[in-house]
């Protein structure tokens, strides 16, 4: 695209918000934060919003729907961790503490929109509609990805860090070329922002002016490595400037702020405003995975501080205090969460049983002559074992 077009667009978006183009790209001076840790609504002055960065509250119906997903997400995280401890699941990178981010990333999207999650984003994947057992296939060790990515418009959970951001860009680009109005949310962690593919993805999205929202869950650690060893930037949201896109930071344990920000981001992107970078400040409350020992690199006191900022309790208090969450709704939500947890427990008790012949069926559209020979060798071995 010519530089005129680009500048016009930025100028237009910034006019819309009554701010300078550079101010449009720079995140608001303070992180956007609507709810206090105790669940009370912050005064307008304290919200971090400023001209060009205004964020109205979502509707009560939206909030209840999001809260339900939040409660289910927490329950699934904790159920899975229990299943891992019991040896019934191989590994689980829990997003305990980050569920508000998970829920907002999925709920801001419409049906035709795509989600690009990482290994940590099971709850987002579920929230977008994938059946819990399908989500957990890979963590169970059965197969690499257990759901139909095209049906759900959810990419496989990515392990090689930030590689998936480029795929998100490609999906958005293909949609744009066909004139489809698809928005894509592409997720990664704070550590992942250091990878080269992060840079290439943001740059491609900006140059091709694509509706991709890069959503960084800054949970302060990449396994053991703290943010300060990862970046010297004023904030990760400031990285947007270098690509000519807008960045924003938000309290990642404040579901209301997240919904407001992601909602606006999706709207702007769908209207042709180009890509955006959102940094959510949150915390990985548990170890990296069950295989990690977080006591080696952080203090209990630090973790405790974040317990006080828990996203679930915060939302619950807000809804209760504002009269949106009656006992009946609350019970229905709990029951739903228990039901999902039971599905997982029951599913994990079933023996997985994948036909080894499957190994050769999905390498190419048709097995090559070589693969047929190899499949025959294995089949012969298995037959002899049986005999």
């Amino acid at each position: 695209m010519s530089s005129e077009t680009r500048e016009d667009l930025i100028a237009e978006v910034s006019r819309k918000f009554g701010i300078s183009p550079e101010d449009y790209m720079l995140p608001a001076r303070h992180m956007i934060n609507l709810l206090n840790p105790d669940g009370s609504l912050r005064s307008h002055e304290e919200q971090g919003t400023e001209p060009g960065h205004e964020y109205p509250l979502p509707s009560p119906a939206e909030l209840i729907r999001a809260y339900e997903a939040l409660v289910v997400g927490r329950r699934v995280n904790d159920q899975n961790s229990a299943l891992v401890r019991q040896g019934r699941m191989a590994v689980y990178p829990s997003s305990h503490g980050q569920e508000a981010c998970q829920v907002a990333a999925a709920l801001c999207l419409q049906d035709g929109d795509w989600l690009f999650p990482t290994y940590r984003d099971s709850v987002a994947v579920m929230t977008k509609g994938v059946a819990p057992m399908e989500v957990m296939t890979s963590f169970r060790g059965e197969w690499h990805c257990g759901y139909d990515t095209k049906q759900y418009k959810v990419a496989p959970m990515a392990t090689p860090l930030t590689t998936q951001l480029l795929h998100a860009v490609g999906v958005a680009h293909a949609a744009k070329l066909r004139g489809e109005n698809t928005v894509v949310v592409a997720m990664c962690g704070d550590g992942a922002t250091s990878e080269g593919d992060f840079h290439e993805a943001l740059n491609f999205a900006a140059v091709f002016h694509l509706p991709v929202i890069f959503f960084v869950q800054n949970n302060k650690y990449a396994i053991s490595v703290p943010l300060s060893s990862q970046s010297a930037a004023p904030s990760l949201a400031h990285k947007a400037v270098g690509y000519g896109m807008a960045g924003e930071r938000v309290d990642g344990n404040d579901l209301i702020a997240l919904m407001a920000i992601m909602g606006r981001a999706v709207r702007l992107a769908r209207e042709g405003g180009g890509p955006l970078l959102i940094e959510a400040h949150t915390y990985r409350m548990q170890a990296h995975t069950n295989a990690d020992d977080d006591k080696r690199y952080r203090e209990d006191a630090e973790v405790a501080e974040w317990v006080a900022k828990d996203p679930v309790k915060r939302m619950e208090s807000y809804l209760a205090d504002s009269g949106l969450l009656g006992d009946e709704v609350s019970e229905r939500i709990s029951a739903h969460a228990e039901q999902v947890a039971k599905t997982l427990r029951d599913g994990m008790n079933q023996e997985a049983d994948t036909d080894p012949a499957e190994l050769f069926n999905h390498v190419y559209s048709q097995p090559t002559a070589q693969l047929k020979e190899q499949a025959a060798l294995l089949a012969d071995e298995l037959a002899r074992e049986e005999a």
Partner: protein, 360 residues
Amino acid sequence: MTATASAVNGNVSAETAQAAAAKAAANQPVTFGKALNTALADALTADESVVIFGEDVGVLGGVFRITDGLTARFGNTRCFDTPLAESGIVGMAVGMAMNDMRPVIEMQFDAFAYPAFEQIASHVAKMRNRTRGRLPLPMVIRIPYAGGVGGVEHHCDSSEAYYAHTPGLKVFTPSTVSDAYLMLREAIDSPDPVVFFEPKKLYWSKDQVDLEELAEQYESQRAAKAEGKARIARPGTDATLVTYGPSVSVALEAAKIAAEEGRNLEVIDIRTIVPFDDETVSASVRKTGRAVVIGEAQGFVSVASEITARIQERCFHSLAAPVLRVTGFDIPFPAPTLEKHHLPSAERILDAVDQLQWEA
């Protein structure tokens, strides 16, 4: 690479070949590069999900002009430049293929595909498998490769082994003008990702082929087409030279000299390294009892190693001598003035043939 070469192609019937030859005689010779360019244009025409992108492939037409005129003809949404980032190019292509496009991307030179290695090895190759077949990635990664053109460092690597070793990728490399056309069309239509290696030194080579006729032939035989067949580039009886891409012409040259000296060598052009055509290779070696495998890449853990290993596994009792290899040395590709010492030459191939224990 003459009319004979394309006529021997197993897919062309005798009459068709003759007719083609007659018609081609009336035409100007076509370059390998033009055949690729036409294949891209025909694919863009045939399938609107095909998109072409990469560095300098738009207005410039690529540094080798293989995409010349495509942006002008098809518009800059079908053929366009990207920012200068190979991982970005491949990664974006993955996403576009996920979303039902057929990207055909160009890596400017062999060694400049390396920044994209993670995307290729961890995603392009594995996506279909990861998703149990639900997310195929039909896409083509075009890579100009190999030496023989006096290129400077990082511009002459033969990197096919890296990709051939990576399950999930198909690896094609044409050595004739008509294969340049046909194989690129095949690669683009393949439901699997194909790494398409173009021998740089052949870009300007010419042959009498009628591209329109080839296009018709391709369209009509498409369904029946058996992908992954090797080609007997020259039939012979005394020993088999197995090779591909840039070395096919060198092997043919060696066979010609050998013929003058009374040795009748068969030359096999592998064409598709993956999938590999064991049948054609084994049949030839069982017949001749001797084989030399030739490849421009450094020999250690190379495609030539694989072919050598396969031949002795499958034809052991037909072999009169060990299978020998003639490959590039195990050194970084040399500077231009020295490359002639590195590249397999007809003489070096003939030396190897001489060692195939003819006395025994």
